[in-house]
């Protein structure tokens, strides 16, 4: 499996990861060799096989759609980890460019 630097750029944008040029080069090579190894699963005939998404029984566990209120202590502890906040809200940079509004 050949991986190009263009592929790496594309996947990095999907994954919201920034890389410098040097890292991109080594990633291109490393991902290529890992994917080459992984290719071997294509040998297996799975035409009649169902996928397994996780190891447990596959049953879904339902619960009531009920809000369980967290204590103010927990809420305060959560906001203590926030990089930026205002009142009980997380604060982020604007999503839209003003010129485009």
């Amino acid at each position: 499996m050949e991986i190009s630097k263009k592929d790496v750029d594309y996947v990095a944008s999907l994954a919201r990861l920034e890389f410098n040029e040097k890292d991109k080069e080594s990633l291109t090579q490393q991902l290529g060799s890992i994917l080459n190894y992984i290719e071997k699963i294509k040998e297996v005939d799975t035409s009649k096989i169902e996928p397994t998404s996780h190891g447990a029984s596959g049953e879904n566990f339902w619960r009531e759609d009920k809000v369980i209120k967290s204590s103010q202590k927990t809420i305060d502890a959560i906001f203590k980890n926030a990089p930026d906040k205002e009142a009980d809200f997380f604060k982020v940079k604007k999503v839209m460019d003003t010129e485009e509004e």
């Binding site: 999907l14 990861l17 994917l35 294509k42 190891g55 980890n81």
Partner: protein, 486 residues
Amino acid sequence: MNEIIKMSATTLAEKIKNKELSSVEVTKAFIKRAKETDPKIKAYISITEEYAINQAEESDKKIASGAETGELEGVPIAIKDNILIENIKMTASSKILENYTAPYDATVIEKLKKAGAVFIGKTNLDEFAMGSSTENSAFFTTKNPWNTEHIPGGSSGGSASAVSAMTAPLALGTDTGGSIRQPASCCGIVGLKPTYGRVSRFGAVAFASSLDQIGPMSKTVEDSALLLNVIAGFDKKDSTSINVPVPDYLETIKQDIKGLKIGLPKEYFIDGLDSDVKKSIEKAIEIYKKAGAEFVEISLPHTDYAVAVYYIICCSEASANLARYDGVRYGFRAECDNLLDEYQKSRGQGFGPEVKRRIMLGTYALSAGYYDAYYGKAQKVRTLIKQDFENAFKKVDLILTPSAPTPAFKIGEKSSDPLQMYLSDIFTISCNLAAVPGMSIPCGFSEKGIPIGMQLLARNFDEQTMFKAAYSYQQATEWHKQFPNI
């Protein structure tokens, strides 16, 4: 050397309960040991001395007053630093969480608190549990107490080293593809990955949710059973935990193993197996035969695809799970003018190289046009791997394999080649894919004095048979009575 630090958790729990020792005395002995040896071993990211002493004093008060006590009352335990303890820092050995303080307790921590355990510190790991050596920790590499030039294994390398170096009698680890069993093997201790769904993961940092389990790491098999007794059970906060009654794992541990059928998968006894590992496993088989176990050659025909399937699945799930680290609600934020740059820079600077590599691989495997060829295909081959185990367990009660193809390698030996590092997990990952329980127990040393482990695998929710077999072997050997010279 202080005798306390050599005692098993079971012995310590008894002596504390009988007031032969106080919890404060015990806790202080382990902290003293950690202060002396950990600068060399580096098992801990933080030693929570004040917290531990407070808990120990509480336990001693409880015992003095005659109040009801827990199974681990006053006994210290080290916790892998990807599990939340309220008000204590939790880093997952990542720069992105370097300043994160846990706002609540993981379910296993709640259970341990109820049982009276004392939290002595948070242990090092490969960043987000991704690795086999702790070399991927953003902070430092933990050393193997048996030889500090060697890796302690990973990702729960800090927990394994802490128990092995006698800075804690017990530890918790997490295991996604061998992260409890492989370091246990490297450090000469007992490590157990319970059946998927046996222990709640609520409050553990999610890596690959269809594979992750929390489990005990200890010096002895009884200690492992004692700790599993405390942490096992259904939890409505983890929708993948399974509501199956929890037996008392200590009750059946001493049962005879006469007539037990143990399978040896031919795919695991290959030419590349290290000769010291092979010799130790052969000796272990002889010991089991003497105890009355019967051996059967079995086949797990899809073993050769397990590493490939594992890396597709774990990286895909990791790429989704780690999307939450965006610098918005918690974790590192690189200040930028707009939100997209902020995401990309926070993640680009906050994550280390292996984590980024896995996110990239997973994102690629899930991306449009490749989903069916990689993720979809891997899930189907996973079904075949699971069926291999189901078929094997129709013929045998347990499966015995080496825990790792070689004893612990040297620090730096494999760190430049990610694929070689991935292949060191070859014997442990099928267990997670199949959801079955697995355990590594010490079974010897290499010529250079590095520990060797053997792995037992059992049917889903049959940890009891595994404990029984592990205990029988332990009683016939002296490996658990050996201590590294540090």
